[in-house]
Each structure stands twice: as C-alpha cells, then as structure tokens.
C-alpha cells in the first residue's frame, strides 16, 4: 500500500488527489475547482467519480490525477486525501502510504467506526480487526494513529475557524462566508501542495463567470486559507508539491457521456429516444442541452430528443425514426438493454440502421447501478432470440468514444443493422483533458440508399433484394414510389410475410453475408489496436475502459526494459477471427483482462478461434482496474506460478 507517487522528487509530476464526502455536500464542486485550477496550470487531468445510488447523504468521492504526461486511469495510491466527513476518513485512509497526507476536520478526529451511519458493517469490521491487531481502538483516532505510524502526514483543519476569519475579512455573516466551504477545502489542499494560489483564483473566476460577489468571496477564501495553512503547518516535512506545467495547448475536459454525445452530433445524429437510467442519462442530458447547434455550411441543425415511458418505447421509437432515413439511436444501461432485446431482432430482420449505446454497470438485475462492470458483453453480442447479424463496438477512452460514436452510425448504415456501442460506468464518469477533437477526421458514409421509383417486382419495391454482398438498396419511408413492407416476420424481397423454406434460407443467408463484407471492409486498426512492443511475446488483451490502466502498465514495463504489448479490442462483433489467430500466434503468455466474473470476451475468443488465455485477470467488485493492479499481476505472472484465473480484490475501495 506504499504510495507510488513520483512527484516532488524531480521526476515528472504525477499527483493523485482524492476528495470525499456525503453526496450533495459539494464534493463535485470541489473537484471541479481543483481540476480547473490544474487545467489552467497546464497540467493533464484524469478525473474519476465514484458515487452511490442515492440523492443525499451517502458517500461519494472524486479522484483527480494531475500530471505532466497524459494519463487515462486513476491511481490507487493517493498522495493527498481531503475529507469532508468521518466516513471518508475511515474508508480511504488505508490508501495512503508513507509521505502522503490527509486533511481532516477537527470534528472527525475521534469517531467510533461502527457509529458512522453509512459505513458498511463489513468495512467497519475489517478495519476494527486491522486496528485491534495493532492495539488501536476502532475509531478514526485509532486510524489516524495507525496512519501516522505508517508515515502519513496528518493535517487537522478547523474549517469553522477559517470561515470565521473569512466572515470577518469580508464583513459578512458566518452563514454567507460558509458558502465558500468547497473552495476553502480545495485551497487547504493546494496550499499544502505549495500550488500557486493564482491558479485556484483562475478556477474560481471560471466557475462563476460574471458573478463578482461570489468570486470576491471565494478569492478571499483562498487568501484566508493560504494564510491559515502558513500559520498552522510546517510544510517542510510534506515533500509532495504541485507545480504548473509549461503548456499553451488549448484543452477541454470531457467525460465519457459527453464524448459519446459529441461524437453522435458530429456523426449526424438526428433522433435519440431514451429512458432515464444510471449511468447513461448524462449523455442524453448533454444532447438535450445542445439540441440546436451551428453547422459548418453556415446554418443551424438540431437533434430531436424524446424521453420515453420505458426502454422498449425508446428502442422502437428510434427504429421508427431510422426507417425514415434519420440517424437514430438510444442510450441505456444493462437493465434497459435487456428490455430492448426483442426490438433488436426486429431491427436486424428489417435491416434498420440503429445504434444502441450501452453503458454497462454492476449487474445482474439492478445490481450496483453506480458502479462499473463489463458484464453486458454476452447479451450485447447475442441480444435477441434467433440468428441475426449485428455489430458490437467497444471504446477504451473518451477520445475513442467520440470517434466511435460517430463511426457506429456509418457501420449501421453501411451494413444496415444494429450496432451496439458498448461502454461502461467507469468511462461514463471519468473525465480527461484532451486537445480539441477534430470533426474533420469523421468521414460520413451513408451506405447504399435507393433512388425514388426503384426496381419493382411483384407489385412493390424489393427492399430486401437478394444480392451477392447481402446489401440491398435501402428505401426511406416516404420516398416516392418505393412502398414496401417492413415486418418482423420472415419475408420476401418486397417484405411480404413468408414461411417458404427456400425464401427463408435465401434471406437469412443474405443478412449474414453483410457481416462477411464488414469483416473484409473494416481495416485492422478499427478491429484491434496494438500498443507497446508489437513483437513482444508478453501479451495483454482487453477491451473497454481498462485501456488506460493497461497502457500505463505497458509503459512502466517498457521503462524497465521488459517488452510487452497490449491488444486493445475495438470491434467485438463480427469477430475478426483470422486476424486474432495471426496476432495471437506468438503470444506468450496471453493475459486477458476484464472487469467481469466469467471472462466474457475470453469466452468469445475461444468460441471463435479456439484460443484460451494463459491467465484470465478479472475484477468484479464494481471499481475500475488500476495500473498498479495490472502491474502487480503481470509481475506475479512473470515470476511464474500464478494461477490461470486471477481475481483483483481491494477491500478498501
């Protein structure tokens, strides 16, 4: 549990800061101000939001990683922990190692662990046993004593005292001054980190643009807090500090939900229907907040958003919109996806271009609605009853999520069917600083669309004409002279219901030929991307948001002179079996990493290629995998004797 921080020692800066507190207490605002300050200072940011399925009161926390090198994963070992309440102290103090620090309130310095309302019994029991072994009481005081023994620096803060000083300095009542508590909490951290107060003031200006009274109060809060820290602590024994970086690159901070919404807009989304569900809803919220937007041809465009009565309505409404030629999608999470399955089959047999975005969360059933998991892969690849072609695309970070969200519409229209864009909670609520995205890189291909008054046969347009490629010219409802039928029943080329054995074979084979075409047409880098040493035998293979942590691990191995590569799977279905067989021929050992119980991708790989991994590394406690966890696991594997199935566990997350 030693801190693996490298900042403050002349190395590239890499700070892991964590703030926690009850939901609704301002954790997100504090994190926002801290992130903005770091962003203004030219640092790269990775933010991770962990929250409970609750409105007010339960525990939430936010990790900010500020670094000179862009990072796409959190760090388990935190450098500085800021707590708003006893529960945060109790839960997270174990993540602190030698040389790191904790900021806590006077009120929280001695609280019985079993009296903390929302601290799970298991958590309190484990901590109690841990403390008992060291002869310490089951209180936060015992935890602080233990932390001190482990070399953690303790910073007890009397927040009320700073608020009173602020009230006096501003000539306002204490209740008014108290509104600056979030800024104040950030400023205690930044002052301890010896981070320039100007950056924090800049963040305050950016957070409340034009609201001078609020800005004045918060700026003074920063001044008072820095003075308080100077007066009360000796910084000399706290080695961790944070400096601005030299960078003039224009950057934005984007989370996964926003990246997908932006990608969909760039890709031409015209219609999205959805039913509220965590952690998908923020994507639709962003789209609703930007329902009208400028276009590059000088006009204004829009996206039509509908909140429906359920997910069945959401998916069928989007399918209806897609039949008219609109680029249409819906966005959901596991429980909603399960409700959409029947309609997936309908869209597939009717060859409707439709994008379903699935933000996976802890499952099955309601599971853990606000925690992450990669457990929907199996249902995403099958989805509905029967045999039908569909595509599944996975994204590993916010940049990929943006371009993939646009690309999914192309796949849907080129191959006329369902595309499931699969992401997860970890990506949805983690944010990253990135350069402005480039919509020029998005090349829109709408596939084969029929001309008005197209070929008629047997009295109607042959929408499902049998072709060598499997692709039939697609009509849009309302196109002149192309009336035909769509139906969930097996059908003739005109869409008439049939149970004729030969027509059935012809149509089902035609539909599946489209996937053979997709596998031939889609370039390798859209199927799987290789990072690290392409010739290395040590091979990590994964998909989705594990990408950032695995790449960081690969880079660390590379720095130590250990050749390793990471195969990042992007196209999950149709399965690029030939390419994988070739890529994996030299893999030794092959290590598959997934955030689920059964290794759902590994199962798919074996079904399609017969290849099984030497080691399956799994995590299913609802929390994202870290670079440290992967690195430790790879080290164990390299030492020999590691199990074929390795479960990543961390009781204090």
């Amino acid at each position: 549990m030693a801190a693996e921080s490298t900042n403050g020692n002349g190395h590239a800066q890499d700070l892991a800061w964590r703030v926690g507190g009850p939901q609704g207490s301002g954790v997100d605002t504090a994190a926002l101000i801290f992130q903005r300050a770091c962003g203004i200072a030219g640092l790269h940011l990775f933010g991770r939001r962990e929250y409970s399925s609750n409105i007010m009161g339960r525990h939430s926390y936010y990790d900010v990683r500020a670094s000179e090198i862009p990072r796409a994963s959190h760090r388990d070992a935190v450098d500085l922990l800021t707590t708003f309440e006893a529960e945060t102290l109790a839960r997270h103090i174990m993540t602190l190692g030698e040389g790191s620090g904790i900021i806590y309130r006077t009120d929280d310095a001695d609280v019985e662990l079993h009296k903390i309302t929302y601290l799970d019994g298991r958590y309190a029991d484990d901590l109690t046993a841990y403390l008992a072994e060291r002869g310490l009481p089951a209180t936060t005081a015992g935890q602080l004593e233990d932390a001190k023994n482990r070399g953690v620096k303790l910073f007890k803060v009397d927040i009320d005292e700073i608020v009173e000083q602020l009230a006096e300095a501003m000539g306002v009542p204490v209740a008014i001054a108290g509104r600056a508590r979030n800024t104040l909490a950030v400023a205690v951290s930044t002052a301890l980190l010896d981070f320039s107060r100007d950056y924090v003031k800049g963040a305050v200006n950016k957070t409340w643009p034009g609201r001078q009274k609020i800005i004045d109060l918060n700026v003074e809060a920063i001044e008072q807090t820095y003075n308080y820290v100077d007066a009360n602590y000796d910084r000399s024994d706290f080695a961790i500090c944070l400096r601005g970086a030299e960078s003039s690159e224009k950057r934005m901070i984007v989370n996964g939900n926003q990246a997908v919404a932006l990608g969909k807009l760039a890709g031409g989304l015209g219609f999205q229907s959805y039913y509220p569900i965590s952690p998908a809803t923020d994507e639709s919220f962003f789209l609703e907040a930007h329902e009208e937007f400028p276009t590059r041809d000088g006009g204004t465009s829009n996206v039509i958003m509908v909140q429906t009565e359920d997910e069945i309505s959401a998916v069928t409404m989007a399918a209806g919109a897609a039949l008219t030629g609109a680029r249409a999608s819906t966005s959901t999470s596991g429980p909603g996806f399960a409700l959409m399955c029947e309609a997936m089959g309908w869209a597939a047999i009717n060859e409707v271009p439709l994008v379903i975005t699935d933000w996976q969360r802890g499952a099955p059933s309601t599971g853990m609605p606000t925690r992450s998991e990669q457990g929907d892969l199996r249902i995403a690849t099958t989805g509905s009853h029967g045999d039908f072609p569909s595509m599944v695309v996975a994204s590993g970070d916010v940049i990929e999520a943006f371009y993939d969200a646009a690309q999914c519409f192309d796949y849907a229209e080129r191959y006329q069917g369902i595309v499931v864009h699969i992401l997860d909670k970890a990506l949805s609520s983690s944010s990253r600083t990135i350069p402005y995205l480039d919509t020029d890189l998005i090349n829109i291909d709408r596939g084969l669309i029929a001309e008005p008054r197209g070929d008629h046969d047997d009295g109607a347009f042959a929408r499902f004409a049998v072709t060598e490629s499997g692709i039939s010219p697609r009509t849009l409802l309302g196109q002149e002279g192309n009336a035909h039928w769509c139906t969930g029943c097996e059908h003739t080329p005109q869409g008439r219901v049939t149970e004729d054995p030969v027509v059935r074979e012809t149509q089902i084979e035609k539909r599946h030929r489209k996937m053979e075409l997709a596998l031939r047409e889609i370039p390798l880098e859209e199927k799987v991307k290789v990072y690290g040493d392409r010739d290395a035998e040590l091979t990590l293979l994964s998909w989705g948001s594990n990408k950032g942590a695995i790449i960081e691990c690969i880079e660390r191995l590379e720095a130590e002179g250990i050749p390793a590569r990471y195969l990042h799977v992007r196209l999950i279905k149709p399965f690029p079996a030939d390419e994988f067989a070739e890529l994996l021929a030299s893999a030794s050992p092959l290590v598959i990493v997934e955030a689920n119980f059964s290794g759902q991708y590994a199962e798919l790989l074996r079904a399609n290629t017969g290849i099984t991994p030497d080691h399956l590394v799994l995590k299913y406690n609802g929390r994202p995998i870290s670079a440290e966890e992967i690195y430790r696991t790879v080290s164990e594997i390299r030492q020999g004797g590691a199990d074929a199935r390795i479960v990543l566990r961390n009781p204090y997350q």
Binding site: I40, T295, G299, M317, L323, D440
Partner: protein, 326 residues
C-alpha cells in the same frame, strides 16, 4: 393532419388497397375497417408514398399488408412508439396505426399512456373484437368480466377496460368510436381522425366470427333483444365533442361529464361517433418547435449531416469551448 400532394394525380380507394392474398377469416370485421381505411385515404387526397400504416401483432396487425402504402408490421404492443419515431423524424408523412385491443390496451398499455401525454399527430385505430383471435380466442382487455367466449376454458375473471375513458385519461385529443359494419360512418370517422392535428384514437367495434360467439354481428344488431333495435347507435345529436383553447372551464367540465356518460353506455345502446375533438392542446411537434425553431424545416430525416466529401457538417466548436479548461 394530412399533407395532400400538390400533383394533379388523384388516387382512388383501389390505389390504397393491395391485391395480395388476404388471410382474415370470412366474415371478419377487419374487412370493413380496411375498406374504410382505403376510402378515407382516397377521399383525403393522400399520396400512397406519403402514408405509413403501422401494425401491431395479431390479425389486425396484418392490416399494413392490405394497404398500398408503406407498411410497417412491428412488434406486439409497440406500434405506437414506432409510429411516433416515424412521425417525429419525418413530419410530412401521414401515419396510421392499426392494432388490436390486446396489442393496444394489454401488452401496449404503457405506450398508450405515453403517447397520450405527447400528442404526436398520429391516428390510432383499434380493432376491438374483445378476443385474441390469432392465438385462438383468449380474453382481450375489452372483454367484459364474467363472459366466457368459446375459446375460453373458464369465464374471464378480469374486468374490462373502457377504451374511451382510458384514451381520455391519457390525454388523446381526438376520441371516436365506430363499428366495422357501418362503413359509411367509419370512413368519416377515419377521415376526421387523420385530419385532427394531434393524437387520435378510434375504437372500432367488430365481431370475431370465429372466436367471439357472444358479441356477434347479430348481437350488435340487437337481434337477441325482445324489441329488435341495433345496439350500435350514433351519439345524441346534441352531443358537443369539440373543445379548444377558448373553451371555458365550465364548457370543458360539461364536455367531460357528457363524455363520461356516453362512454359508459354499454348494453342496449352503444354510442358511436366523435366523442372528443380537442384542438386546444399543442402537438408534440409544436412543443419541440417552441424551443427548436429549426425543426420547422430541418428534421431528423432531411437534415444535412455531411458535405459532398463526407466531412461532418456539425460545428461543435462552441461546445468544445464550453468544456475548455484553459
């Protein structure tokens, strides 16, 4: 609401029909409804290429195959959301839903409620024969409690839904009832429902000659009564169905009382006709346009999403600026 074509060509009822083999039972009430749909479309001067008939599952769900329009045979219970997506994405189309009583008020009841709240300009025609014909006669949500039609092992122990009351409660802005053997009235009702600018619900009573041996053509004709008089009767002449944004609260309450009384008649007299025509409620498209002005011209189905080279047309710079950190 309709969008007649400007072209000189006028279409006849047969242009809206289809020669394909029809597999409804002989004597099925569905024939009267589909004939009325053909005639109504022709009389309104619609272009078959600009009409979409959306069906659910069941005998009635096959209606799209017997229409010479675009036909979308959807999933059980889901035609309303499909139709909603079609209409919102391309508002120029005339969209009709043909679905059964089980499809509409059983498996699809949730969508019926959701559709009512939105008031999208769609016409929903419910084929109401009180049974699930295609699965051999189980009780539909419109079968009165205690009745045992011949496909049932035991009498139905679930109460019937009053479709008109249900539509009123959900917010449908045009509500009517017709009878499949009164085609003249049915044509007029379908035309009025299509012309109404908002969500219309037409409950069409019909015998199922194969599975509903209780509410037969003779029953609707009142032949079982001592004094033979058709049960299906037009609404009283003085029944006022129209309300709009200028109606006083008292007028609205009067209408509600009269609606409720007529909608509850069932027995010796079953009223048919227009029960509600409310033009005082904005359509969903109007509500969108209040915020999204460009929706009047730029719709999901016609928007320009790329230039000639396929480069994305959306300009996201202002959104990127919103998210900028420095």
């Amino acid at each position: 609401m309709t969008t007649p074509t400007a072209e000189a060509r006028t279409y006849k009822a047969k242009d809206f029909s289809q020669p394909s083999a029809n597999d409804w039972c002989a004597g099925c009430g569905d024939f009267g409804i589909i004939n009325a749909m053909h005639q109504a479309c022709a009389k309104l001067g619609l272009d078959p290429s600009r009409v979409v008939t959306v069906g659910g599952i069941g005998c009635s769900g096959k209606a799209p195959y017997y229409m010479g329009t675009y036909g979308v045979h959807t999933l059980h219970g889901r035609p309303l959301p499909f139709a909603t997506g079609i209409k919102l994405a391309n508002p120029d189309l005339t969209v009709m839903v043909a679905s059964g009583d089980g499809d509409t008020l059983g498996i699809g009841a949730g969508h019926f409620v959701g559709a009512g709240r939105r008031n999208v300009d769609i016409t929903s025609i419910m084929f109401d024969n009180e049974v699930y014909g295609l699965t051999k006669g189980q009780a539909a949500p419109t079968l009165p409690m205690g009745l045992q039609t011949k496909g049932l092992a035991v009498p139905s122990s679930q109460a019937k839904i009053n479709p008109l009351m249900m539509a009123y409660a959900c917010g449908f802005t045009w509500i009517g009832r017709g009878y499949s053997y009164n085609i003249k009235q049915l044509v007029e009702l379908i035309m009025a429902a299509i012309e109404h600018p908002g969500l219309s619900f037409l409950d069409v009573l019909q015998p199922c000659p194969t599975y509903n041996n209780l509410h037969t053509k003779d029953w609707y004709a009142g032949k079982d009564q001592e004094e033979v008089r058709p049960r299906v009767q037009p609404l009283p002449e003085d029944f006022a169905a129209h309300i709009d944004e200028n109606s006083s609260e008292e007028e609205v309450l009067d209408h509600a009382r009269n609606f409720m009384v007529e909608a509850h008649r069932w027995g010796t007299e079953i009223p048919t006709g227009v029960f509600l025509e409310n033009t005082g409620v904005t359509t969903f498209a109007e509500r969108i346009r209040e915020r999204v002005k460009t929706y009047a011209e730029t719709t999901p189905s016609n928007k320009v999403i790329a230039d000639a080279n396929g480069v994305a047309n959306a300009d996201l710079t202002s959104m990127f600026d919103e998210l900028a950190v420095n």
